[in-house]
């Protein structure tokens, strides 16, 4: 069993796609009420890691515990219950383009029967307000929104059911630095206000230091460093230093396909 203050615990999590081993024995603890930022280059397995915890991808080996329960071996109903406590902000928003914004935001509430359809619109408007969007945005289609607004709506959808755990997949990718800072601020506000446990994956260093309490670096499917997010830029680890400062020379070699 996990220590009581650890909400998410991964032990020896491995996943390969054919010959390519994407995760190679990941060990990671995320304490309750804290934010963990996972950094790493493109293709280092960050998204696969999140998808394994979410149950969207089944790892080949290892255990994934949420509040001490191994989600990989738990009965199906318990898995569904555990995962209903997770909210996720996808990299590109992943908003349902066939539904108006308010239905996107209230989708989880309706699915979990936390409100009726008649109440859903006002609940969605209240959550949109929390992320700085007017209620009138709820009537719009996702395709009518800018990138920053789509991220906000994605965030509203993720927090609508007040989940105990929040995942953020590259929350600032594709946004200008100011909008990135705004989104990070909203994420921090939401996480602190709800007291949620969060994992964010990013390769935006400014975002990582703003969102995270702790940070870990993933390289070739392994956690090569873990520490305070505030120490990311002066960690003393050669790989982290090369990555955070964007140096071409160093222990991390870009794999070029020949």
């Amino acid at each position: 069993m996990s220590a009581p203050n650890v909400t998410i615990r991964l032990r020896g999590v491995s996943k390969a796609f054919g010959e390519k081993k994407v995760l190679d024995g990941i060990n990671l603890d995320v304490a309750a009420g804290t934010s963990m930022v996972v950094i790493g280059g493109s293709g280092s397995g960050k998204s696969v890691l999140l998808k394994c915890i979410l149950g969207l991808i089944e790892p080949d080996e290892g255990t994934i515990e949420i509040d001490g329960v191994n989600v990989l071996t738990a009965p199906r109903e318990q898995q569904a219950e555990l995962r209903s406590r997770i909210g996720m902000l996808f990299q590109n928003g992943a908003l349902f383009d066939s539904l108006p914004v308010w239905e996107n935001v209230a989708f989880g509430l309706l699915a979990q029967k936390k409100c009726t359809r008649a109440e859903a619109k006002s609940r969605a408007a209240a959550v949109l307000e929390q992320v700085g969007l007017a209620a009138s945005v709820g009537e719009m289609s996702p395709s009518e929104l800018s990138g920053g607004m789509q991220k906000r709506v994605g965030l509203a959808r993720a927090i609508a059911s007040q989940p105990e755990i929040l995942f953020f997949d590259e929350p600032t990718t594709g946004l200008d630095p100011i909008m990135g800072a705004v989104i990070d601020g909203l994420i921090v506000d939401c996480v602190k206000r709800m007291g949620s446990t969060a994992i964010a994956i990013t390769h935006d260093m400014a975002s990582a230091t703003r969102i995270g309490d702790r940070a870990a670096m993933l390289y070739k499917g392994r956690i090569v460093w873990e520490g305070l997010a505030t120490s990311l830029l002066h960690s003393g680890n050669e790989m982290v230093d090369q990555f955070t400062h964007g140096r071409r020379e160093g222990p991390i070699q870009m794999e070029l396909r020949k």
Binding site: K51, L54, A94, F107
Partner: protein, 261 residues
């Protein structure tokens, strides 16, 4: 010798691949159909799919049926007149339309229109993480995306075929009476004398099966698409081609079951 071994190895890989693909499709089909009868039910998704498959396919199916009936009357008249069997035109038109051409042509038209649209929509949802997002919002994608569409296909296609049957026979009637000089009352009497319940029912059963096949291939190809816009395009093409081929193959099987002596 090496070339022969290479060929055998290729054949083995091909057959194993075909078995794997068939197994996956069969499991997908069973999974999708089983969710039709297990709650929760998504009535709004069903209605949306029903309108999309049934109502919006009406014009194309209606036009196809009416022109098919007209061509059938014209062709059968010129052919049968060589044997002085012109009077069989009415029976030939009604049997051809209700047993075969109504369900098959409606199925092929809907496969082109709806199969492609389903594959493109679900494929886009797959490559933009919307299907993963459904899972994270306590919603089973098979239940939300696939089951309502399967049920809509199962119900909408027979209704479309009823319309196609009526319009196909009407097309034949128009050509027979206006162009070929048949007596209207005699033509209608011949039509009603020859048609039997089994002819219509067999066509409607075929239509239900075709409806499931069209939706199944659209959903399956879309659900398993990958690789961005190109992948969605490939899924769309595969959905239409595979549904069309399966419609023709199942048409033979069902005809054999209904009418083989």
């Amino acid at each position: 010798m090496t070339a022969a071994l290479d060929f055998v190895a290729w054949l083995g890989r091909f057959l194993l691949g075909a078995c794997v693909a068939s197994g996956r499709l069969a499991l997908f089909c069973i999974n999708g159909l089983s969710h039709i009868v297990r709650p929760p039910f998504y009535g709004r998704m069903f209605l949306r799919a029903f309108v999309e498959i049934g109502y919006f396919s009406l014009p194309v199916v209606a036009l196809t049926a009416i022109f098919t009936g007209m061509v059938l009357a014209l062709q059968s008249s010129t052919g049968l007149s060589r044997f002085s069997a012109d009077s069989a035109v009415a029976s030939l038109v009604v049997l051809s339309v209700t047993r075969e051409l109504g369900p098959v042509l409606a199925g092929l038209m809907v496969a082109g229109r709806v199969g492609a649209s389903i594959a493109a929509e679900i494929g886009t949802m797959r490559v933009t993480d919307q299907i993963d997002a459904l899972s994270t919002l306590s919603t089973n994608p098979m239940k939300y995306l696939v089951a309502p569409r399967l049920l809509a296909g199962l119900i909408a296609l027979p209704l479309l075929v009823v319309v196609a049957d009526i319009l196909g026979v009407m097309g034949g009637f128009i050509i027979a009476t206006v162009k070929l000089g048949f007596n209207a009352a005699t033509y209608l009497n011949n039509t009603l004398d020859f048609i039997q319940t089994d002819d219509v029912v067999s066509g409607l059963v075929k239509a239900s099966v075709f409806g499931v096949l069209i939706v199944l291939m659209g959903c399956y190809q879309g659900y398993n698409s990958k690789g961005g816009a190109q992948g969605v395009g490939a899924a769309t093409t595969s959905a239409v081609v595979s549904a069309s081929v399966l419609i023709l193959a199942f048409d033979y099987v069902l005809t054999e079951l209904f009418f083989a002596r």
